[in-house]
């Protein structure tokens, strides 16, 4: 218990990932859905950094770095789209967005 090993970090990452999944499935407001997506990405980053540390390999840290970069650009574009939608429809409620109904 005292000795923190890789498994601790991985379990932590998994818990955070599961919390993120709950948020993704639960949230009906699109902005809050994006928040949950951020949680997912951060959980994965922790896992990458942990593995990188415990195996002495820098690949994990590089991956986490690029994940952060991608997350940033994703937020920018996502918010832009969200603004366009809001201007058209006045709300960002998921249950009202059903134009893709099959």
């Amino acid at each position: 218990m005292m000795e923190i090993g890789l498994n601790h970090y991985l379990v932590l990452s998994t818990i955070l990932f599961a919390i993120g999944l709950v948020g993704v499935m639960k949230r009906k407001n699109l902005l809050l859905l994006f928040f949950a997506t951020e949680i997912l990405l951060n959980a994965v980053n922790i896992a990458f950094a942990a593995i990188s540390h415990y195996y002495g390999d820098l690949t994990g840290q590089m991956f986490a770095f690029f994940v952060i970069a991608i997350a940033a650009s994703e937020v920018a574009v996502g918010l832009g789209l969200l603004i366009v939608w809001y201007k058209r429809h006045g709300n960002i409620d998921l249950d009202a967005m059903t134009s893709m109904k099959g």
Binding site: V11, L12, F17, L21, G23, K28, I39, L58, A64, A71
Partner: protein
């Protein structure tokens, strides 16, 4: 020992913050909790010796991304309570738990952990930032450059999507057309 305390403390804090993010009805609380969670995650990075990554996490994630979200929140007027139709709680929680258990099973299997080989081993003696610099500009140069282009594209996309009067292009129009456009707008204003 110190490491264990730090780990458990920050772990507890992070989980709490993220839990608040996904369950609260107030959007502002969710935003604040998310920002706090980001900071705590950077603490993890520092514990793991990934200094550069930790700093980048604070600057980019907490600083830039959360600022973006804050501006977005102002735009959408979500300071009031969000009314949400509740989905089936059992399915959501059940699925997530199942996913978590399975992932843990997979990653902690000795079969995986016994067979890992380090591709870019860390060099002892030098600091983390030097190491990252070494690897980033040699082995990961192309992803680096591509990421730069991607960021540029994202920036342009953000501006085009959200900006006003983005359908007309001042640089492509003649002087008379610009004047006519301004006259038209003036009339609208007055």
């Amino acid at each position: 020992m110190f490491e264990a305390i730090a780990f458990y403390l920050f772990a507890f804090l992070t989980i709490a913050m993220f839990y608040i993010t996904v369950t609260t009805k107030h959007a502002l609380y969710a935003l604040t909790a998310l920002a706090a969670g980001m900071i705590f995650i950077s603490a993890f990075f520092f514990i793991l010796g990934a200094d550069f990554l930790g700093v980048v996490q604070i600057i980019v994630y907490t600083g830039a991304v959360m600022a973006l979200y804050a501006f977005g929140m102002m735009f959408f007027d979500t300071t009031r309570e969000v009314k949400e139709k509740q989905g089936n709680k059992a399915i959501i929680v059940g699925l997530s738990t199942l996913a978590a258990v399975l992932i843990v099973l997979i990653v902690s299997a000795p079969m995986i952990s016994d067979n890992i080989v380090a591709l870019y081993p860390a060099i002892d003696g030098v600091g983390n930032i030097q190491e990252i610099g070494l690897v980033l500009f040699t082995k990961y140069l192309i992803p680096f450059e591509v990421a730069a282009i991607m960021l540029l594209v994202a920036m342009v996309a953000g501006i085009v999507l959200a900006g006003k009067k983005m359908d007309i292009s001042l640089t492509l129009m003649d002087a008379e057309e610009i004047k006519a456009n301004e006259e038209k707008n003036k009339k609208v204003l007055s």
